[in-house]
Amino acid sequence: MTQLCRLSARDISVSFGKTPVLKELHTDIPDGKLTVIVGPNACGKSTLLRSLARLQPVNKGQVVLDGKAIHKQNSRSVARRLAILPQMPTAPEGLLVRDLVIRGRTPHQSALKQWSHEDATAVETALEQTGMAHNAGRPLEALSGGQRQRAWIAMALAQDTDILLLDEPTTYLDLPHQIELLTLVQKLNRETGRTVAMVLHDINLAARFADHIIALKDGRVHRAGSPAEVITEANMDSVFALPCTVIADPVHGSPHVIPA
């Protein structure tokens, strides 16, 4: 059965200088699903996500969004369909949470039309969904790591796109906050039907929250499929060089990796 995929990478190659990072990588991001990209450090996860979001020019192949090469499409029109939250984003000092979230409306605005009724609704909805409404008036640097990450996600949500890409949204969060954030992302995926693709470094969390997992190794897709298909002892060994036992998580039933 072929799945519907508005976003896909078709044999893309990316290199920095002479170093190839992605090598004719081919993958699809299934619509409406929660996809997680995993792989060892520096294997090209962020580069793949940035390429999928047209932030990274590709040397060969193309990223296709809605049937057309994404790099050839108008950036603003792409931004109305696809939002990306880069790894460790930065904002100017003193920026308030609400103003950050308002920035998410950029592709729907113009210099003269900076505030429509839809903008107001989308911003309030994003603040509500992420539980940041009561923090809206605070500057970003006054927030804890978890709250700050939620503020950034609220910005991406306010962009009101069908596709949402997140690069390691759980970096620097402790376990309870990681779970909280991933539960939020999963809820957004389930309730609004948004396609979500994110990079995570924790395989067990990936296995628990993902519908679809893409395991990268050396700039190529090593294996892609459901958590049960991808998170196996053989794959963990070949992708991460990690000898381990994989059991079924007794609570959630998803595959659970226990390093040897």
Binding site: R50, A53, R54, L55, S75, R76, S77, V78, A79, R80, A83, I84, L85, P86, P89, T90, A91, P92, E93, G94, L95, L96, D99, I102, R103, G104, T106, P107, Q109, S110, A111, L112, K113, Q114, W115, S116, P139, L140, Q159
Partner: protein, 336 residues
């Protein structure tokens, strides 16, 4: 507060409005005191009559031919410097990256000087070329996988010093009298401005101020990281180009009527940002702060009796401590 007209809708934060009103009031007060300031005593009603064109003789001459053009040039040039500085600082995400610190003003004044020597005119044109070339060279040399703050500052300061030395060399081509006048202009001087200068700077501002305010929308997004601005659909390269072109034009314009007044572009952005708060560029407020700083510095220059100190001496006195303070802050935060 939300402004909603058929063709224009935007947020107008109460604080930004209050700050703007206060700054404008201060500017008006400063303007009136500047009209009053001078060796020839004139009271308010005499000044008022002169401004309205009801005065004759010396009274009219002092107000309309001397004080008013000088004041209006100061306000216009200060506003242009303030806008340009704030635009560069925001776009390059670094308060040190203002045109007077990283050599763009020096480039514009070198260009102006060269045009003066070669053709006896075309000062604005020379300043434009000088400013654009310097901006391209400095940003080009400092660019390596993006713009690193310290590289930009070092290259910029290097360019600034080289260009100032270049200007000194060019001066030897002039006769002593012109050279003396030019030397003052190179420090930044508003001495003996006339209505042609006023016209030049204000016509320029009439075009470039609305353009700058329009560019404030992409500029605000560019102040975030490249990936974020890009992801939000901002056309990075073309917007950067438009902002650079506008800001360099503002610098060239200001330099051609007032010389490279040091530090006005540099202090206006940080001051207006701190007044308005909320981490947004406040271009309009930066323009008013620039105008105010320049006018106050010029009043200081005019109130020193007998010697004609150039205005730039006083903008430097205001700006240099701010530069040191910002360097210290950035150094402590490790962002330099």
């Amino acid at each position: 507060m939300i402004l909603r007209l058929p063709f224009l809708s935007m947020h107008l934060p109460a604080r930004a409005i209050t700050v703007s009103l206060c700054l404008v009031s201060l500017l008006v007060v400063a303007l009136l005191s500047a009209l009053h300031l001078g060796a020839y005593p004139l009271n308010i009603s005499q000044i008022g009559q002169a401004v309205l064109g009801h005065a004759e003789g010396i009274q009219r001459m002092i107000v309309l031919d001397h004080r008013l053009p000088r004041i209006l040039t100061a306000i216009g040039a200060g506003a242009a410097f303030g806008l340009a500085g704030s635009m560069f600082q925001t776009m390059l995400r670094n308060p040190l990256a203002s045109p007077d610190v990283i050599g763009f003003s020096a480039g514009a004044s070198c260009g102006a000087l060269l045009a003066m020597i070669l053709t006896g005119g075309f000062v604005l044109f020379g300043a434009l070329i000088g400013g654009v070339v310097t901006a391209l060279v400095v940003i080009g040399l400092a660019w390596k996988d993006g713009l690193h703050p310290y590289r930009l500052i070092l290259v910029g300061i290097g360019a600034s010093l080289t260009l100032s030395a270049g200007a000194d060399l060019l001066m030897t081509k002039l006769d002593a009298l012109t050279a003396a006048e030019m030397a003052k202009w190179l420090v930044g001087s508003l001495n003996a401005r006339n209505w042609a200068d006023v016209q030049l700077i204000w016509v320029g501002l009439a075009v470039l101020l609305p353009l700058s305010l329009w560019l404030q929308f992409p500029l605000t997004r560019l102040a975030m990281a490249d990936d974020i601005a890009n992801g939000l659909g901002v056309a990075l390269s073309s917007m950067r180009l438009a902002i650079t072109a506008t800001a360099v034009a503002l610098v060239a314009l200001a330099v051609s009527v007032a010389g490279p007044l040091p530090f006005v572009a540099f202090v206006s952005g940080p001051i207006s940002r701190r007044l308005v708060r909320q981490g947004k560029p406040a271009l309009l407020q930066a323009a008013i702060v620039g105008a105010l700083v320049t006018l106050l510095a010029d009043m200081a220059a005019r109130s020193v009796p007998l010697v004609h100190l150039p205005t730039g001496v006083f903008t430097a006195i205001i700006g240099a401590p701010v530069l040191m303070w910002l360097l210290l802050v950035q150094f402590k935060k490790g962002t330099l």
